[in-house]
């Protein structure tokens, strides 16, 4: 069987769309984001999420979030059965609005961070992490 370049691209797109639609979990993600932002509009920029492109072991994936001037940053594992990972709230003595931790990822998915800035605006960023062996038991 032979595919033209266009067909191959379409198939790749289809496969991506299929992996990005695990129904229930996505609804949970939306609910989490809405709870955090109160329905406010979310912009981009000013927030950095550092995560590995490929994680061999989904049980412990190092991530770092950083958003100068943020009040709090929420991290979501969008493909997990329960997407919530952590919410970092920075106090008056925080030396920088950044933090690192390790999270579990059940499968290859987008890790997402949403930051609340001091002026009340919100920004988000997400990055795909490929997981070789999933965490969360299962």
């Amino acid at each position: 069987m032979k595919f033209t370049r266009r067909e191959t691209m379409l198939m790749a797109l289809g496969a991506t769309a299929a992996t990005m639609l695990p129904g229930r979990a996505m609804a949970d993600v939306d609910a989490k984001v809405a709870e955090f932002t109160g329905g406010a509009e979310i912009g981009e920029g000013g927030l950095t999420l550092t995560a590995p492109e490929i994680a061999e072991n989904g049980n412990t994936v190092p991530i770092e979030v950083s958003a100068p001037g943020a009040v709090s940053i929420m991290v979501l594992a969008t493909g997990n059965p329960t997407p919530g990972a952590a919410v970092f709230n920075f106090g008056p003595l925080a030396g920088a609005q950044s933090a690192s931790t390790r999270i579990r990822l059940a499968k290859t998915q987008n890790v997402m961070a949403v930051a609340k800035m001091a002026d009340g605006s919100f920004v988000q960023v997400s990055q795909e992490v490929k997981v070789t062996i999933g965490g969360c038991g299962g």
């Binding site: 594992a77 059965p81 952590a86 003595l93 030396g95 933090a99 390790r102 999270i103 579990r104 990822l105």
Partner: protein
């Protein structure tokens, strides 16, 4: 009930006034996500640490809400400003009601 929960933190012994220092914390805890099943197919109930805070002389540095996607033996690395000599208090709150604390002093010289 989580057994053998042992917090470890790394705080420099000294700093200059107003210096920004890096703090690292690790606590041994299974962080049972509530998704796993035991040998008989029964769901193992969730048992995690759900909150971590760090304060310096009663002033907050960071307050983290933790959910099941945090790995076993939760690790955090973050930065704090040290305005004066004092102590960092690290507190972890377990689902089962246990509270684990660790205090580390730092001298501003």
């Amino acid at each position: 009930m989580a057994d053998n929960v042992k917090p470890k933190v790394r705080v420099p012994k000294t700093a200059s006034a107003g210096e920004v220092i890096t703090l690292k914390t690790l606590i041994s805890h299974p962080m049972e996500s509530g998704q796993r099943k035991d040998g008989d197919g029964n769901l193992i109930p969730r048992s995690i640490i759900n909150r971590f805070t760090c304060d310096f002389n009663e002033q907050n540095v960071i307050d983290v809400t933790m959910e099941p996607a945090i790995s076993t033996n939760p690790y955090f690395e973050f930065q704090a400003i040290v305005p004066e000599t004092g102590a960092f208090t690290f507190t972890w709150y377990d689902d089962d009601g246990s509270v684990y604390t660790e205090v580390q002093e730092i001298t501003v010289g």
